[in-house]
Point group: C2
Amino acid sequence: MKTKSFSDMQCSIARTLEHVGSWWSLLIIRDAMMGARRFKHFQASLGIAKNTLTSRLNELVDGEILEKVPAADGYKHEEYRLTERGRDLAPVIIALSQWGDKWVAHPDGPSTIITDKSTGEHLPRVWPRRETGEQMRLADLGMARAASNEKNKRRPRDDNM
Amino acid sequence: MKTKSFSDMQCSIARTLEHVGSWWSLLIIRDAMMGARRFKHFQASLGIAKNTLTSRLNELVDGEILEKVPAADGYKHEEYRLTERGRDLAPVIIALSQWGDKWVAHPDGPSTIITDKSTGEHLPRVWPRRETGEQMRLADLGMARAASNEKNKRRPRDDNM
DNA sequence: TTATTTAGTTTCATATCAAAACCATAGGTT
DNA sequence: AACCTATGGTTTTGATATGAAACTAAATAA
């Protein structure tokens, strides 16, 4: 995995990456969202080493992104299924996918296309919006440090930052 | 970085992760979005080893997520600034942050709050929507493989996947 | 029953990462 | 000018994660 843990950081991004920031995690989640449920599915799709896949799957189960459930078709094996927490990562997956489509697309075009099933239309860009649905400009986004911040031993000297 | 490269994969998520999937990359981008511009800012904020920070910054510059520009205040040093590509990662950053706020928040609450500057309101969840702005249910999202897929030597046997 | 998948585990070589020490230059101080 | 400290690195070294291959036990298929 990694050497330094993000889990003690207060930042939600860091805390999220602690769960899904390993090299393969997000690709595994993507596959799960596309219907992969069994070890062999992930393995075939990703070309990942089996021991690494085992580790990543276990991490995701530990993090309650995936859960192991009995096979849906009555066989004895277990399957990996997204939890609600896992499904709730959809915006992350989609945002990554759309950014890639836009900026670093494969010469042959993207391998996966995200649509609105009910219309067959291409999904619009996932983007910050107001309650009204109106898309926001980045300039209107504020990212402010929350009030309490006892961790900061060093007084923020506002040194031209 | 890693051993196996994602860059030859056709999947846009993999290709995106090739740019921003390293352990610290997304946290560096987050800091850049919050105004960090100098080596020391990132270092102080992240507690990252300097050589690692150097590597990550160079990767991000190579990937055109950040660019080095002369200091705005007339000093000789250079600063790191988000490119358009980099700023366009905002939905990824926000989605990660919101997921973390919801599912794995720090006991003291999140350290950063994302707002709509023009109203001071809390930013609604970044989520897939129709052109109309209407929020979608995940069940209405289709993730389909695009047509051409010459890579697949193994005929998809549709083996209960 | 026997053969083949599947879902791992173990071992080992290699690649990547972080920590600490070191260094050159820029800017500040006297 | 002379000195001192902060900045932005690089180098070295040790720890950790990864991938490939071989192995195994259980589940499934023939």
